[in-house]
């Protein structure tokens, strides 16, 4: 049973990484706690759901489509709205994204209704039996997709000019501006990239979790915990935080009962904040 719990935790952890990636990027680079993040994941899940329902497209194939669909509106939103308050105190940006989230969430409630839906894969992908351990293939595929997503963003920030610009702005906005980097545009690109990642994550999760606008708060809460656990703005930290939380919750549920799975994670989070406030991989600058 312990081994099965570990496998469950790993699979859950990979999904958690996907949930937190975009949130970490925005928080790390723009210093914004993006309350909109959970709703963007839900929107991505809805896109995958309808692509599957209308055209039979697999949610895994729908992930890049969801990313592209969310990229441009998010770019314009950051450029036209959020950039205007970036220099303001954190409460202002928090309130702005809170308000934007209310608008998006209520729009989704109106358009999609509050009913829960889920992509049902037909035929189902089945369950692998590996040394007596059950490994559901859809979770495995979504988890693998999630890790690919994290790797892509990591590669982007390490190897491309845009990525290096994002890192430079994260490290020192004023110095980056002096070097000729258009900071406002980089902010918009970062936010758009985070939204695209959230949309893709939503598509990957659409065959795993029930989809509803009200699910957004759950995603946001998990993203917050993972980012603090792994370290703000750190892409490897997202992976460590996601897997850490997945495994801790799974064993917490086993040893203390499912009711206390979250409690264990939050106690650990408090300890980490006390003894390692930058999280597992967080540091002042970017990698």
């Amino acid at each position: 049973m312990l081994a099965q719990i570990f496998v469950n935790g790993l699979l859950l952890g990979a999904l958690y990484s996907a949930i937190a990636l975009g949130f970490s990027l925005v928080w790390g680079v723009l210093n914004i706690i993006n309350i909109l993040h959970g709703s963007l994941i839900v929107l991505g899940a809805y896109l995958a759901f309808f692509l599957n329902a209308w055209f039979g497209i697999s949610p895994f194939a729908a992930a890049p489509v969801a990313a592209m669909v969310l990229f441009i509106p998010a770019f314009l939103l950051q450029l036209g709205v959020i950039n205007r308050v970036l220099a303001k105190p954190v409460l202002i940006t928090l309130t702005l994204t809170f308000g934007l989230n209310l608008m998006l969430n209520n729009a989704m409630l109106t358009v999609f209704r509050a009913d829960y839906r889920k992509v049902v894969l037909d035929p189902p992908l089945g369950v692998l039996d590996i040394a007596g351990l059950a490994v559901p293939v859809d979770r495995l595929a979504a988890g693998a997709g999630a890790i690919c997503l994290v790797a892509l963003v990591w590669l982007l920030t390490r190897t491309t000019q845009i990525g290096r610009a994002i890192v430079a702005v994260r490290m020192d906005r004023d110095a980056a501006a002096l070097m000729g980097i258009p900071v406002a545009t980089v902010y918009a690109l970062t936010f758009a990239l985070a939204a695209a990642v959230a949309g893709a994550a939503g598509a990957l999760l659409s065959a795993i979790f029930p989809i509803s606008p009200v699910a957004s708060a759950g995603y946001l809460g998990k993203a917050f915990v993972i980012c603090v656990l792994g370290g703000l703005g750190s892409i490897p930290g997202v992976v460590a935080g996601g897997f850490g939380l997945g495994i801790i919750e799974s064993y917490g549920a086993l040893w203390l009962g499912p009711e206390h799975a979250g409690t264990v994670a939050f106690v650990l989070l408090l300890l980490l904040l006390l003894f390692r406030p930058n999280g597992l991989f967080g540091r002042k600058g970017f990698e």
Binding site: Q4, V127, E249, A253, A261
Partner: protein
């Protein structure tokens, strides 16, 4: 001379208004009914559904010309506020509805916990409150005179299923129960535990999961370890979609799997697909029922038709509950012949309301005790009634894979 002229004008206007009022029910009294609703927050799906039920009732009521009171007809105005799925806020708004908006009657907030909390306010001001969605006996144990609940006690859900299970297969001995840590799902889980133990079954697993849980795999792995014959999971539709999906992921099977609330409705069946097969559930209402009624809907099937016409989908029990408390209040006011709260409360207490939801009477605590909720099983992605005999549409099957 001028004041005499004004007096004549005032008399003529007053007389005209009285005459028009007497012949035009549209200008008759307006009955205000208050409803705190969770239109945003985690309970917004349920809040939206309740509102749909209320609004269908109001629409049909307006078409019928309003509520008949002594010699005239009264319009109904529904005054509602969003309590954002926050129970303390629901209590504040219930008080605001009574004190500021001066409503005549109340519909409760959603669910057992919020209904219990708001019932304190209704009792304090002596306002009859109809609880549309409270099924836990604990809500009605305060000795209040103004609280009337549409749902029967949770034990009426567990007992028939336990009977069916034990009669169908004497080999079923071991029961695992997983419950959402929330007033109604926990109360339901406790009833299942009692029903199982009363029949000599062994409860080998009983655990709670937190509200908002995104992963049941650890609990389900533990359940797999105790090899139960009957698995009971309580919660709301999102919990049960996820739990059923993860049971499939872990290849957790059992002769009987019962999940309440959710599986009787299309959205759950669509979201779980083939995994819905042979899941048993129970609910106070389902569109497959067909009661003839003396309310403005006339029958369950007519209610279902009107609901489909208005909203384009079949009603579930929450939506039906919203409309049902409406027709019960309407019948009580009509029987009382006035909106006097004491008279209406007395009529509510007398019960025997023949509604599309079933025959509704309230027990000494205010909780409905006049009907037995049917038991359903999903077979070939269709909802079959497997109990009671009178409305049965299918036979109970064993085996959930």
């Amino acid at each position: 001379m001028r004041s005499k002229g004004l007096g004549v004008v005032a008399f003529v206007v007053a007389a005209a208004v009285s005459v028009i009022a007497a012949f035009n029910p549209g200008l008759a009294q307006t009955i205000k009914v208050g409803a705190p609703l969770p239109l945003t927050g985690p309970l917004s799906p349920e809040g939206t559904k309740l509102r749909q039920g209320y609004e269908l009732w109001l629409e049909e009521l307006n078409k019928a010309g309003g509520i008949r009171t002594a010699g005239s007809r009264a319009n109904v105005e529904l005054v509602f506020y969003d309590y954002q799925s926050n129970t303390p806020r629901a209590v504040q708004l219930a008080e605001k509805l009574i004190v500021d908006d001066k409503v005549d009657f109340l519909f409760s907030p959603f669910g057992s916990g919020a209904a219990k909390a708001a019932s304190v306010v209704a009792e304090k001001y002596g306002v009859p409150m109809l609880a549309s969605t409270a099924s836990s006996a604990e809500v009605f144990d305060q000795g209040y005179k103004n609280l009337f609940g549409l749902y029967t006690d949770n034990s009426t859900l567990s007992e028939p299923i336990a009977d069916l299970v034990t009669k169908k297969s004497p080999d079923i001995r071991r029961v695992a129960i997983l419950a959402r840590n929330d007033l109604y799902p926990m109360s339901l889980a406790n009833e299942f535990e009692k029903s199982a133990k009363a029949r000599g079954l062994q409860v080998v697993f009983f655990e709670k999961y937190a509200i908002g849980t995104m992963d049941h795999s650890a609990a389900l792995t533990q359940i797999q370890g105790v090899r139960p014959d009957w698995i009971v999971v309580t919660g709301y539709i999102n919990d049960l979609i996820l739990a059923r999906k993860q049971m499939g992921d872990l290849r957790l099977t059992a002769p009987v799997v019962t999940m309440i609330n959710g599986p009787a409705y299309n959205e759950w069946i669509e979201a779980t697909g083939a995994l819905s097969e042979n899941i048993t559930t129970a609910s106070w209402f389902h569109p497959v029922l067909n009661y003839q009624s003396k309310d403005l809907f006339g029958s369950t099937q007519n209610f279902v038709r009107l609901f489909k016409d208005k909203y384009g989908s079949e009603p579930d029990f929450t939506q039906a509950s919203g409309a049902a408390v409406g027709v019960i209040l309407q019948q009580a006011i009509e029987r009382a012949g006035s909106t006097d709260r004491d008279a209406v409360r007395a009529e509510l207490g007398k019960g025997n309301f023949e509604t599309f939801f079933g025959l509704i009477s309230f027990g000494p605590t205010g909780m409905a005790n006049s009907y037995v909720p049917p038991v359903y099983q999903i077979q070939d992605r269709q909802v079959k009634v497997i109990y009671p005999e009178a409305v049965k549409t299918g036979e109970f099957r064993l085996g959930v894979r």
